[in-house]
Amino acid sequence: MLLISCPYCGVERPETEFRYGGEAHIARPADPSQLNDEEWAQFLYMRTNTRGLYAERWRHAHGCGRFFNAVRDTVSDKFVCTYKAGEPKPDLDALARASQEKDAR
């Protein structure tokens, strides 16, 4: 079973307690009425959809109920780290290098 660490509960819990919430760190435009349709569609629908490490939102739906952010490898489905909502996005390139070195050893 895939275990995910909840940064609010401080424990690892099975994936079935969680819900996926899409890509993280996408700020809603401050004034949507100032955007044209293309810019609004960009905000609503366009995602980087990275192959490799990806920062995404998860919700501990059947636990503390909180949204948090996670860095997950979309190839291996391995969770590299999780952190509370509002905390800065980790350096994904550095994390990727670190996990590559770990795998190489």
Partner: protein, 186 residues
Amino acid sequence: MAEIYTPAASLAPVLRQDAVSIQKTAPLARLSFRGRAEAQAAVAGALGFALPQAPLSAATGAGKVALWLGPDEWLLLAPEAELEAFEAAVNAAVAGLAASVTDISHRQDAVLVSGPRAAWLLNAGVPIDLALPAFPVGMVTRTLCHKAEVILWRKAEDQFVLECWRSFQPYVLEHLLDAARELSTA
């Protein structure tokens, strides 16, 4: 203090075996409270003790219990007879603050799962680690039992409170009874 969850005297045990038993509990006053620090302090005043701030913990005092469910969410328990006074006191405490206090006494129902194989039986449906080092006495959490959301509180090494929505309870209990058949033939 007296235990907040007491077996329902009028109901026969759902399951009674040497290794594990399941007993429905008597009705309780249950309030769902959500709010930030200011409201939390106000509720602590009404309760007579501070809300537990450590994740997955519980606090008791003055015949009442507060269970941590999330960073801004608690389940408050009190004896059934005190419901109206308790709800009024908590509502008065948070008046004017951004907080939510909801009476969910009749939404949820609890059973006591006790016996040396209690953790084993629960693990038939609850996917988290219930070994003592990972889930010590006093820990409380919301999780899943099969597909139903439940609140699980370890009262003692061999006793758990399993609380879920009352319409989900037949589903949860039937799955546990099914798993317990394995123990009865052993």
